[in-house]
Amino acid sequence: MSAAEDQAAVEKVLGGDTSAFEGLVRRWQGPLVNLAYRFCRDRGRAEELAQEAFLRAYRSLGAWRREAAFSTWLFTLATNLYCSELRRIPARTVGLDEVAEPRDPRAMDGGLEEEDRDGVVRRAVFSLPPKYREVLILFYFHEMDVTATARSLGLPEGTVKARLSRGREMLRSKLSNRLRADLLKKEA
């Protein structure tokens, strides 16, 4: 399905053909569920959030101005919903200090196993204040495209760049203790 097909489906829905919305759901279900999953790391909740995003999109299809691509409009709507819902009821995440030690004995020699290390970084992202966390999540979801991130959040690109830089700085400082301990273990 292309952008033109998206538009045609929207016109049909606006003309009263509700079933035409199914094509849009089929095309965008993956990206919307995955975006929600990045925000909450909970599959069930991600699907609930994505469903609510589709419902809101259906309700406000008439508000989509054709200057922007349908996908841009949909992502902005979904991002707003996810951010506000997760600020209202935050995702249940494990704190950085509560992360269990690696179970694999190789990890004791070779530092944190890659998977554990990735997990620690991801959890550290969740421990950031929302405005930095949201920018970081969207930046990597949009394959490091600042313009797309700014559009989804409705923020100027300069603000997104500043928050990215500050967010990374905070991540570095949060992780430094953890990684230093890891290094000491490696040296011992």
Binding site: V25, G30, R43, R59, V121, Y140, R168, R172, S176, L179
Partner: protein, 124 residues
Amino acid sequence: MREEEFDRILSKKQEIIPSPGFVVSVMDAVRREAAALAPIAFPWKRALPGMIAAGLALVWCVVVGVKLLTGGNAIEPPPAKLLVLLGLLSETWRAVGASWILLALVSSLASVKLSMRYAYGKRW
């Protein structure tokens, strides 16, 4: 930890596939939404004359107030018909117990607002 390492870790795609029933579930919700009756629109056409009259009365009050404050005795007495109309309005107001109705409306509105605020947070 270097920036490239953050980029490498956080760019890693951990794709999840929506459950098989997801589309059906969304479309069910959409169909329910479409089948639901549209909310009753505010009756602007009926309310408009009353709102205009209220607006004019407010403007008249402001003009009289300003004249009272600035000119003192210079204000002319309002026309007799207007006085009769105001008297009639005041009689009706008392007869239907409009003050109580107004009080009930305000307290209902306040209680609805408060409950919404507790349920949904500050945006209400």
